[in-house]
């Protein structure tokens, strides 16, 4: 029986039918790959290769000696064309290694990663949170000193509309997901391993449950509600514990990894495979919506072409899900570790852009929808008035930026953006959660 979901949240049309039935398919090798030297949250890597140099699939091409960081590997055998700054989906120009792949590629072979212990291997493999957070995973394998992690949770909710990459992964490689979970649980010495999956993916839950037989992993089917996959809401749904304000999930005894991350950790540990590719859902207004195994550094324009090109009128191209993903102003940006989807929206699918500053009609829908029990209208109004102290009193820093408030706002106020501005202003003033 599904457990109660968290309080708040929304039920947008999930639109997963477009791609949920499409098995993961390997995307073609493009003419060139543009691999950013930073694809995670943390310290930026330095490219370690030079133009003209031959690189092998799996070879590290950007490294940095920092605790919170993740190296980058070449996804192909090929030749480095140049090292230059290139635009990324986040809207930043970052150092990128451009590689011309060889005509022949053997995807079953790679330079194995090395490491003295589990965390070192995962770190050397460049694994980061694949749900979109891109936090280096190795950091989360070292037990925190002040708290005891009792439960490892794998996040298979995939609550963002349109996205189906985690769904397909759980369906097609459930053993890798479970194996990754077991590795994480063991390395932390946690008691339980729980895999949370939304009720709109019953087939995936069934597959994972079967794969979990003979292991300690428990599969929990959760009600379909956005944002069920948000870390704090997922922990609450499974453990009935709130992560205290300003604390890590470990303070509630939990540690959460995305299911794709778990599979990548399993690959790193078992077959020493670095993170060079990921499953990306390409969906919406493309001729062949589907789930593609994409080499990191593939340009979105190439990826869309592989998916048959645009179909119909196109308004927005989103990197990730439509609730939280950044929109692309240019398709000349590479696929990175955190890009779970490329969602193409047209008129009627996409929200209408709002030009004028719309009034708050004080309906209270945003506060009903907020899974953090915040009052987005108040933070938004104070942000508009530049009263940053007031935004802090209304706990702007607790906002998880899920977008539920802006989704329900009848006058389409850009609430998330206003809260983000408030957060940035507070951060600039040195205010920390």
């Amino acid at each position: 029986m599904p457990r109660d979901a968290f309080r708040g949240g929304i039920h947008p049309p999930d639109m997963k039918h477009l791609s949920a039935g499409r098995p993961i398919e390997r995307a073609a090798v493009p003419e060139r790959l543009v691999v950013p030297a930073i694809q995670h949250i943390g310290a930026c890597c330095e490219p370690t290769v030079d133009p003209g140099q031959r690189v092998k699939r799996g070879q590290a091409i950007a490294l940095v000696d920092a605790f919170v960081s993740a190296p980058v590997h070449s996804p192909v055998d090929g030749v480095v064309e140049e090292i230059s700054e290139h635009l990324t989906a986040a809207g930043l120009r970052v150092p990128c290694v451009t590689i011309i792949p060889d005509a022949e590629q053997d995807f079953d072979r790679w330079e194995p990663v090395e490491g003295s212990d589990l965390a070192a291997i995962v770190r050397a493999a460049g694994v980061v949170g694949l749900g979109g957070a891109t936090f280096p995973s190795a950091v989360k394998l070292v037990p925190p000193k002040e708290f005891t992690v009792t439960t490892v949770i794998l996040n298979g909710c995939e609550c963002e509309p349109y996205l189906t990459c985690d769904h397909r992964l759980m369906l097609e490689a459930p053993d890798r997901v479970v194996r990754g979970g077991v590795i994480i649980r063991e390395s932390l010495g946690a008691e339980r391993l729980v895999i949370g999956i939304e009720s709109n993916k019953k087939d995936a839950a069934e597959a994972v449950r079967e794969a979990a037989q003979g292991t300690e992993a428990e599969v929990v089917v959760l009600p379909t509600k956005y944002p069920q996959g948000a870390e704090k809401q997922l922990i609450w749904a499974i453990l009935r514990k709130e992560v205290p304000h300003g604390k890590l999930p470990a303070a509630a005894g939990a540690l959460v990894h995305n299911v794709g991350t778990a599979a990548a950790i399993a690959d790193a540990v078992d077959v020493r495979k670095p993170l060079m590719e990921r499953v990306v859902t390409v969906t919406g207004r493309v001729a062949k919506p589907g789930n593609y195994r994409v080499l990191l550094g593939t340009l979105v324009s190439d990826l869309i072409e592989m998916a048959g090109g645009f179909s119909g009128e196109v308004e927005r191209v989103i990197a990730g899900g439509p609730m939280t993903g950044p929109v692309l102003g240019s398709l000349d940006v590479p696929v990175t570790k955190g890009m779970s989807g490329v969602v193409v929206l047209g008129p009627g699918d996409a929200a209408k852009p709002v030009d004028e500053d719309q009034p708050c009609i004080r309906c209270g829908r945003c506060s009903e929808a907020c899974p953090m029990f915040l009052q987005p209208f108040a933070i938004g109004t104070y942000a508009n008035a530049r009263l940053w102290d007031r935004t802090e009193q209304f706990h702007a820093l607790d906002c998880i930026e899920c977008g539920a408030c802006a989704y329900v706002c009848p006058t389409s106020r850009p609430l998330v953006q206003l809260i983000r501005i408030a957060k940035a202003e507070l951060a600039a003033k040195g205010v920390r959660p």
Binding site: E242, G309, P326, V327, D332, M372, H395, P410, S412, V416
Partner: protein
């Protein structure tokens, strides 16, 4: 790189990139739809004067908002539906035979002084329709109370309560009050009034013709989550409880007068009511309490209007008192 953003025009906007089905206009149209059966029934029963009152109120509300926007050089807002709701609600709070120019002044005051001078929709402290109604009552209350009615009261013996003229055009409510004052008790059976009040009541304002249709419309709005049940439930509950406590018939007191129109459609106005759950419940109860106290002890028959306006004024304070606990916080600091 055959198809970049430079060649194809892409929309660049902040997330979320999808939006729910609700808009300001759709919400306002739900409110209009919920009021429509009661309004239509009142036109059927009251005939041409009712149609004129509705037309003048709604027309003037839209025209004054358009004119204000034009004069203030602001973007036109009359299509957001809120002026339509204000006009409709004002009409339903007026008797059918209200002189057209009083309706027009009321609607213009509602829009201009009730809403636009504050900065338009979203910025007003008080419910615009009630501001218009209060203005009309304070200016021409005597005119309104002497309007002819269809004469139900003539069959009631109100000996000792003064001449019939004094209460001509009076509502069941006013008669009940008058009789209670004169005789120290009710001279007629309040329970016998349930049926006419629910289905066909020709005394009072246009919104009082059928309580049943108002309740039905209100329930639809609660079901569709357009309004929060806490406000009408708190309001009606407090009204019924206090009426009973003051020795009167609770059902009669809920059905008679403007209570239902107020509880479901006026007090629930988003802009002038609180925004969080607990604050809304307290606000609803407050409306009911002041309405009951005004009805039983006040010197004016207009307790609904002023009860809601009073609570409108308290709404920002209630919002401030009942700030919900943030997820992850044990209790609020400060």
């Amino acid at each position: 790189m055959s198809d970049t953003g430079q060649e194809r025009r892409l929309v660049v906007a902040v997330p979320p990139h999808i939006h729910g089905p609700e808009s300001c206009r759709s919400i306002m149209l739900w409110v209009v739809g919920a009021l429509a059966p009661a309004a239509a029934w009142s036109m059927v029963q009251m005939g041409t004067p009712a149609v004129v009152t509705y037309a003048v109120c709604i027309g003037t509300a839209l025209a004054s908002e358009a004119a204000w926007n034009a004069l203030a050089k602001r973007p036109q807002t009359i299509t957001d539906g809120s002026a339509l709701v204000t006009g409709l609600l004002l009409a339903m709070s007026l008797p059918p035979l209200t002189p057209w120019w009083i309706s027009a002044v009321g609607a213009a005051v509602a829009i201009v002084l009730g809403k636009m001078v504050f900065g338009g929709l979203g910025w007003n402290l008080f419910n615009p329709a009630l501001v218009g109604r209060a203005f009309v009552l304070l200016s021409w209350g005597g005119v309104l109370s002497k309007l002819p009615s269809k004469g139900w009261y003539r069959t009631i013996d109100v000996a000792g309560s003064g001449s019939l003229d004094a209460i001509s055009g009076a509502t069941r409510l006013a008669i009940a009050a008058a009789v209670r004052m004169a005789k120290g008790g009710y001279g007629f059976d309040l329970a016998a009034q349930y049926r006419p009040l629910l289905l066909r009541n020709l005394e009072g304002s246009l919104g009082e013709v059928s309580a049943a249709l108002l309740i039905a419309g209100g329930l639809v709005l609660i079901w569709k989550r357009i309004i929060d049940w806490r406000i009408p439930v708190g309001y009606v509950g407090a009204m019924a409880l206090l009426s009973w406590g003051f020795g009167s018939d609770p059902i009669f007191n809920v059905l008679a007068g403007g209570v239902l129109l107020g509880a479901f459609f006026m007090a629930t106005d988003y802009v002038s009511s609180p925004m969080t759950r607990n604050a809304r419940l307290v606000y609803g109860i407050g409306c009911g309490v002041f309405n009951a106290v005004g009805r039983f002890f006040g010197s004016m028959p207009e307790s609904t209007t002023f009860a809601i306006l009073f609570m409108n004024g308290l709404a920002p304070l209630l919002d401030r008192i009942f700030v919900p606990r943030t997820f992850g916080w044990v209790k609020r600091d400060g």
